[in-house]
Symmetry: C2
Subunit: 589 residues, 2 copies
């Protein structure tokens, strides 16, 4: 595969669109373009030179369970050492625990390059980052001192254990038990499935975060607590002791992300330590959910970016047919694929989605920074609203774009010698894990729209409206604001439909939930493209890089002209209500 | 996997919607419902009991090249013998060559069940059927006598050799050569790739149909001729002689259809025999194209049907969460997935697509029968127009529906122990082979719309309009005719846009080609659902099976309410023209 980190696009967002050094968020002022440029160039080099070459290796070799331990693909361990050695795993971790204290935004931008180059590989540190956050937010001082320095550097890696064979979304059905011991620890017993990075040979220890039911919590999700269960027990001095009673039952054969070991984990009275409050395990998981889901939304477009780059390379190289308006490569046997309008359409779909999603994701990361570093409640409310959209819309669309990229390759895209199939197979999981996209839609429509009396969604509606008004009368902005206005009204009409019909019949709202998620996703893209267009025009007027900025504007106009009208379709579906969806008895399927 | 042939739905189409026994097409009068029911029950049994259990086996084992011969997965040969033994490969072949002389429609309906159960397996006979047709249409009497009885029974199987490493769509670049020999035969030399069923261990001989350039034909596609190149030479008495100079270079590793051997074939001066006219090989291929592409369009929905059936089974079985309007399984730990509106939406998307596509495909097959058996020029023109829609729309949507079916399984859909991933991976190829869907869109907009002065597309427009008018004032038909009218006008507006803009700028038409293909696809679905609704109402009024017929009507109303509005989106994209699509220089990608 080919991969070059789109540093210019990343820098454009950080400095032209988001103007990070002028932000009031602590730490942003230090992110001048020289610094971020240097970091991104280095991250890009690591991604291109070390991670990307291992992407197909991971896919072909997969992970193998040997004598109870998972062996990762050739080269993964050396690359993981390099990732660790460069300090890439601890960019936004706290300096007191060995991190560099950079904003979460910088972690996000760097993470994009690593995910594009090798999604399966990067999951080992992604999960560890999640475990770091859990311990950082909920752990005792002793737990922090023991675990955080090791997790920040990925000397130890982390996992999240929620799903069981009979329950995923509905965690109230959970059977894994935690029995309190005299010494304050717990014995954890149960089977967890789909545990990413559940075991591997790249770290000294693995810190499993396990949801389990401790006595006295009551029925359903109320009885759930969160436990730290290390693979190797940790002695008081921090050194590693004996093997804990946790073992790998199986490594799953999956459609993709073969380089990541997805394990069935068996806990047989394993020693575990309560983290956070007893019986408040679900709440502890929720506090990490925004970051985790933003990270999956990032995977959606980051894999699409890699798929796009490879499709572009193929479309420029492969000679097939002639430009209908006249040969472009008259001395060659045929013109390159990229001359054909339908290939262009496909590449523009991909490009305009990826660039919009990148902007949305970076904005989302900055809202998390604003919420965490400034305690800004409005930012917290807004990002909580946007998270299901970022996760659900970007992974659905990212997958669809990876499929389009594969299509550019024709038959060669179906052959595993080429990279196109892997991007599709890898991208597919992001629609499923960390809350399947139907659950994201339910979260959005069933919970987030009405949260705090609907004030966050109303604030978002207002923000979109103001963005349109801000550029009123600017002819060059008209292709953006005109389309965004229409889409914005359609979004509001959908919201109104839910308000008017959802109370007396919840199914009238839920039947349209996936459509609303996509409608709002397109509006978010439209908002991002409007902001990017304004920034591009400003930079252009100031004598900026015309080729880059004009391409940015043309890509945005494409999105507004050809993708934003999808909002009308989604509204029509929403307004068709529950009846068509719920008309049949279950027996009629 | 679970699979039961939807015989009731098939019978409804044949007898209620198409009224086959009343048709003037020769052979249709014999297809009374007792006969078709018995055939379909038997085909369904073969599909469920023999083919479906081998679907995962084929996927997991794949095809292996051993000592120059491809070994198929365990059980394939025994199943192929059973397929042959039951006469299933020769349903519509000519009685004089061992076939049963049934209409192509019956072949199509039976084929659906076999493809749903095991697409990769069924390709061996599918390709053979194509080779049978080629020899039947273009062969000499001697060639027919030698090859047809063997191909009809699949004692010998067939292949189609078009693609070369450097050319797929653009066959004018072809390098494979055919040198004439003194005895009238040719020596064929070259490399062909992506040859489905290129070699295997299930037949005595393999009849390769190979496109190659013979001297004197000129440049490009004009120089191409079609040759029969048998794996084993055939003696004058029909017995098998020595091995021909054709060998398998490689079996490809693919994303799916692992049970089918996709081969690189090397021809090293292999003995070949001209079939059809010299230098008219492309024309010979074109005469088989309607059947071949209809067969791929069938794969699109047939695999989606299998994916749907398995998703339904999972959605009824898996307990997760509660119906928001009140528990449906109060004594159980949770309700089945199927109570949730977004799961319903997904299953209705799948069901309403599959049933519409089945109707379109059977209608298409009957148009081919009408054209071939009655020489009806209008039917020939209409099916030639519809073929890119049937192929492109149905395979794009079929894949999307298989993805939705996989999504119903949550994380379990990503694990290869379950059938969902295979359906997605298998379905993916149908969008690519037999002319990638972008090429179908180009064929539709660039060639078929204007064919014979546009008379076929105008006839289609008129047919849709008349279907709406025919049910004017029938309240129960209003949900169908109202939506179809709107979509029909949008289709005509798109056509008008092409007429007004495409001549001075062909890119203005081609930039909207994929959108037009999908717009017309939805109109075709709308037309089919309108016909099905009318037939269902008629049957209902006559006291037919109310549960089945009411479900049919509700499924159709779902499609009209929630899918037909996609036509407006496609029109908006088409009318945005070439500029957004073609704005960027190739260097800007």
């Amino acid at each position: 595969m080919t991969y070059v980190a789109p540093v210019k696009d990343m820098q454009f967002l950080l400095h032209q669109v988001m103007a990070v050094t002028g932000s009031d968020i602590p730490g942003y002022g230090d992110l001048d373009s020289g610094f971020t440029g240097a970091v991104l160039e280095e991250a890009g080099k690591l991604a291109s030179d070390v991670l990307a070459p291992l992407n197909a290796v991971g896919d072909h070799e997969g992970c193998v369970l040997e004598n109870g331990v998972v062996r990762t693909p050739s080269g993964f361990k050396a690359a993981f050492d390099q990732l660790r050695g460069g300090g890439w795993t601890a960019l936004d971790c706290a300096p007191e625990f060995g991190g560099q204290g950079l904003p979460y935004l910088m972690h996000t931008v760097v993470n994009e390059a690593l995910v594009s180059a090798n999604m399966a590989f990067n999951m080992y540190q992604g999960l560890t980052h999640g475990a770091y956050s859990a311990v950082h937010i909920h752990g005792t001082d002793a737990q922090k001192a023991t675990y955080l320095p090791k997790l920040a550097t990925c000397e130890w890696t982390g996992t999240m254990n929620l799903t069981e064979p009979h329950c995923g979304t509905d965690l109230g059905l959970m059977r894994t038990k935690a029995e309190p011991q005299a010494d304050g620890s717990y014995k954890v017993t149960g089977t967890k499935i789909f545990i990413s990075a559940g075991d591997h040979d790249m770290a000294e220890n693995i810190v499993h975060l396990v949801l389990a039911k401790a006595p006295g919590g009551g029925e359903g999700t109320r009885g759930i607590s969160l436990f730290i269960v290390p693979k190797f027990l940790v002695r008081a001095d921090g050194s590693l002791g004996g093997r804990n009673a946790v073992s790998v039952g199986k490594v799953e054969e999956k459609m993709g992300i073969h380089g990541n070991s997805t394990c069935v984990m068996n806990y047989d009275g394993a020693e575990g330590y309560l983290i956070g409050e007893l019986h408040k395990g679900m709440r502890a998981m929720f506090t990490m959910m925004n970051e985790a889901r933003l990270g999956v939304g990032l995977q959606g477009y980051a894999v699409a970016e890699a798929a796009y780059q490879n499709a572009v390379a193929y479309a420029k190289d492969r000679l097939q047919g002639r430009d209908i308006t006249g040969a472009q490569n008259p001395t060659g046997p045929a013109d390159p694929l990229i001359v054909h309008p339908d290939i262009r359409r496909s590449l523009m779909d991909q490009k305009s989605f990826v660039e919009g999603a990148r902007a949305l994701t970076y904005w989302g990361a900055s809202l998390i920074d604003r919420s965490v570093r400034l305690g800004d409640q409005a930012a917290e409310g807004l990002i909580t609203l946007l998270i299901p959209v970022i996760k659900g819309f970007q992974t659905d669309q990212g997958f669809a774009m990876a499929v389009q990229a594969q299509q550019v390759w024709g038959g060669h895209g179906y052959i595993e010698d080429n990279p196109a199939s892997q991007f599709v197979r890898d991208a597919r999981i992001a629609m499923i894990y960390e809350g399947a996209n139907g659950v994201q839609a339910l979260d959005l429509v069933g919970r987030k729209l009405g949260q705090d009396g609907g004030k966050h969604v109303l604030a978002f509606f207002e923000m979109v409206k103001k963005e349109c008004q801000a550029h009123d009368g600017e002819a060059r902005m008209a292709p953006f604001t005109t389309a965004l206005k229409v889409a914005s009204k359609q979004m509001q009409a959908a919201g109104l439909y839910f308000v008017q019909n959802g109370v007396k019949n919840p199914n009238a709202a839920l039947a349209g939930s996936s459509d609303f998620l996509h409608l709002m996703g397109h509006v978010c893209m439209g908002l991002m493209w409007t902001r990017m267009a304004k920034a591009a025009l400003t930079a252009l007027d100031a004598g900026g890089d015309a080729a880059f900025l004009q391409a940015k504007l043309a890509t945005g106009r494409y999105y507004m002209a050809r993708q934003l009208p999808a909002c009308g379709l989604h509204l029509a579906r929403i307004e068709s209500g529950a009846e068509p969806v719920m008309a049949l008895d279950a027996a009629a399927f």
